[in-house]
């Protein structure tokens, strides 16, 4: 892994052990956003992994149904298919 990946993963780990216990564990997804981030950064690199994680966090709000949303496999064209397994929330 590159130093950037280590840095990002370290930051997420730090969050999990310090901030997360204070603010509570409120994720609507499985795996949780922080676990998703750890995996995404490891598999897709710092840049793309960070991007995937940012999008995931933006989706993690009360207007999204949440649910099972794994990290997309690295071989795919990620930006195009990242959300394919998860249907977009109904918008009305």
């Amino acid at each position: 892994m590159t130093p950037q990946q280590h840095l990002l993963r370290g930051a997420i780990r730090t969050y999990q052990y310090t901030l997360r216990p204070i603010i509570g564990c409120n994720c609507r997804f499985l795996p949780h956003c922080s676990d998703f981030g750890l995996q995404a950064v490891a598999e897709h690199g710092a840049l793309r992994g960070g991007w995937l994680t940012a999008r995931r966090i933006l989706r993690c709000n009360p207007w999204h149904p949440g649910g099972y949303d794994p990290v997309p496999p690295p071989s795919q064209n990620v930006t195009g298919t990242a959300h394919a397994p998860v249907p977009r929330p109904t918008k009305g």
Partner: protein, 632 residues
């Protein structure tokens, strides 16, 4: 089993900390004694206040190429100091320095006419402690004091031959006391055709304007570099807390430049020169303490200036200086006059006052002297809101409580949204138990199935990461405002809290004052005030209501968090602990209230009806039962 081990580990850690503290004590006390001795010695030797501190040249080593003698005073003919012992001998014979009194509604002090040094200034509106008879806060102090801190105006002879006023120069003052209605001019003639003048003006608050000028009546042009400086000859006690900046600060060309004392020292040693030196159009530089500021800025913000932060070490003492000068020496032709006009702010960092100086005098970013931090655009409005509430209720503690309540109210729809779906989730209970039964041996699979179920039924008990993460900067900002603003200083609250910015004085370890001893004498860890305990209890209760992390180790950390925080916050300003306690209480109340509403809803409709509930109770909570109306 694991719990026991963890408990043992924590007990062991606390034990080690206590032991280390005890073991360190003799060294710490010895250090304190040494410091006291040094200051006593210096107090003894200091009465020769003008002895030019060795190795401290006048400030402003200007643009390369402009020759600036390190000792601008050793010019023959000038009635100035000669280096070495002769000074001390001459010193004894000299008349004592005369002082120019300074007074306005908020400041009092005096300026030493020997060296044009403002080294005596107290703030009339602020006292050292909450006791009504405690001494006024002293901002500037002379070299004979334990913490010398002064402002000074002068010139450097860039041509190397013009006699300039130095630290031993006795200026003459025209006019009695410097006050808002009475400006004072200091004069000194070097006897070779140059007359130096400093016109001092004081406003009603904390701003002093110094207009330095020199008139050349000699036959030749002279090269002079006017400067103003603020010097601090002892490192002040800092809070050392990472969310508060103390040290050098300033805004030059619109950019905030902050240097901690320790970093400035490292940088100055590395560069073998000033820690920071920069030219700027206008701007300001200063020494910031938590609540006080001494800063320099050009009187006309269109002036091009050269600003610097400096460090030097003398006799093991760190000395700090910031100075403002013209970018290059001024050439004063025969018959001409040249100069530099600067302002010195010396006083308390009151937000409204700094704002008004910023707009009246056009000083860019002057309010950044208060460390509002990265979230300036949140923290500053928060401060205004708190200050407004303070104006209404007359108590800063009450203002904190009401403002926190208002914030919680603003975030209520988010929290509520999550709990609304809980209602529908109850209808899923049978299906959920079914899932749990089916995957009894595979918890991960069970959780995944559960998530699928949530999605299929469009319910989810958690509010999501985004709203929670959005709240972090908000609450951090509030916390920061409470920490940095002077309005919380010496502000009382109910009961035993006399000062919201100081730690709660009560202590569990002497049973809140029943036992006649101070456990803090044994170790600074033995401090457990009442409000911190209240904070710990509310935090524990709130955690009970929060979902726990899925990871077992994290869950354990989670369980110990209230205890860790209770100890961590014990020595924090009482205002922050009260705020945190109140915030926890509000979170608990909010959760409880939503749950009660939910129960009522459950009771008022058939148990298994999957349709959204009809709004029986009025209120936002049920105004929008379907999530479709809003978009994220």
């Amino acid at each position: 089993m694991d719990q026991k081990r963890l408990l043992a580990a924590i007990a062991l850690s606390v034990g080690i900390l206590l032991l280390f503290d005890l073991w360190n004590r003799p060294a710490r006390e010895a250090e304190q004694r040494r410091q006291a001795e040094i200051s006593a010695q210096q107090a003894a030797t200091a009465p020769a206040p003008g002895v030019p501190a060795p190795g401290v040249p006048a400030p402003g080593v200007p643009a390369p190429g402009v020759p600036v003698p390190a000792a601008p005073l050793a010019t023959p003919g000038a009635p100035l100091a000669t280096p070495g012992a002769a000074v001390a001998a001459a010193e004894a014979a000299r008349a004592p320095e005369t002082r120019l009194p300074i007074v306005n509604p908020r400041l009092q002090g005096s300026l030493s006419l020997r060296g044009a040094r403002l080294d005596d200034l107290v703030l009339r509106g602020y006292r050292e402690t909450v006791a009504p008879d405690s001494p006024l806060v002293r901002l500037l102090a002379p070299r004979s004091d334990a913490n010398p801190y002064f402002a000074q105006w002068g010139w450097t002879a860039a041509d190397g031959r013009t006699p300039v006023p130095g630290p031993e120069t006795d200026w003459t003052a025209e006019g009695g006391t410097l006050s808002p209605t009475q400006p004072v001019t200091l004069r000194w003639d070097n006897g070779q055709g140059q007359e130096f003048r400093i016109l001092l003006e004081l406003d009603e608050d904390y701003m002093l304007t110094a207009r330095q000028s020199v008139r050349n009546t000699a036959a030749d042009a002279v090269q002079l570099l006017p400067w103003a400086r603020v010097r601090r000859e002892r490192t002040p006690q800092t809070a050392g807390f990472f969310i508060l900046h103390e040290g050098f600060t300033g805004v030059l060309d619109g950019r905030l430049i902050e240097w901690k004392y320790s970093d400035a020292k490292t940088e100055a040693e590395k560069r073998r020169g000033p820690a920071m030196e920069q030219e700027s159009t206008g701007g300001w530089i200063g020494f910031t303490d938590k609540y006080w500021l001494a800063a320099l800025t050009p009187a006309d913000q269109a002036t091009q200036v050269r600003a610097a932060y400096r460090h030097s070490a003398e006799g093991g003492q760190d000395r700090w200086q910031l100075d403002l000068a013209t970018p290059a020496a001024q050439s004063v032709a025969p018959g001409a006059e040249a100069g530099l006009a600067t302002r010195l702010f010396a006083g308390a960092k009151e937000v409204h006052l700094l704002d008004s100086y910023e707009s009246r005098l056009n000083i860019e970013g002057f309010d950044k002297a208060i460390d509002f931090g990265w979230f300036y655009w949140i923290t500053k409005p928060f401060f205004y809101a708190l200050d407004w509430l303070f104006g209404i209720f007359g108590n800063f503690g009450v203002a904190i409580l009401i403002f926190t309540f208002a914030l919680k109210l603003a975030f209520f729809p988010l929290a509520n949204k999550a709990y609304i779906s809980m209602a529908r989730m109850k209808t899923l209970a049978p299906k959920m138990t079914e899932v749990r039964e089916r995957y009894k041996d595979d918890p991960a699979k069970a959780q995944a199935e559960m998530m699928a179920l949530y999605k299929a039924e469009k319910v989810n008990p958690a509010s999501g990461c985004l709203p929670i993460l959005l709240q972090i900067p908000i609450f951090f900002s509030l916390y920061k405002v409470l920490f940095v603003t002077i309005e919380m200083r010496h502000a009382p609250f109910f009961g035993w809290i006399q000062d919201l910015s100081a730690p709660d004085p009560t202590n569990l370890f002497n049973l809140f004052g029943i036992l006649p001893y101070d456990p803090m004498q044994l170790s600074s860890f033995l401090h457990m005030p009442a409000w911190a305990i209240a904070m710990g209890i509310t935090m524990f209760l709130q955690f009970k209501l929060n979902p726990t992390p899925p990871d077992p180790i994290q869950a354990k950390v989670f369980a110990w968090m209230p205890l860790i925080f209770t100890f961590m916050l014990a020595s924090f300003p009482a205002g922050l602990v009260i705020y945190w306690t109140w915030n926890n209480l509000l979170s608990i109340a909010q959760q409880y209230w939503i749950m009660q509403m939910d129960k009522k809803r459950q009771a008022s409709r058939p148990a298994a009806a999957p349709t959204p509930p009809k709004p029986l109770l009025a209120g936002k909570a049920e105004a929008k039962p379907a999530p479709k109306g809003r978009k994220g």
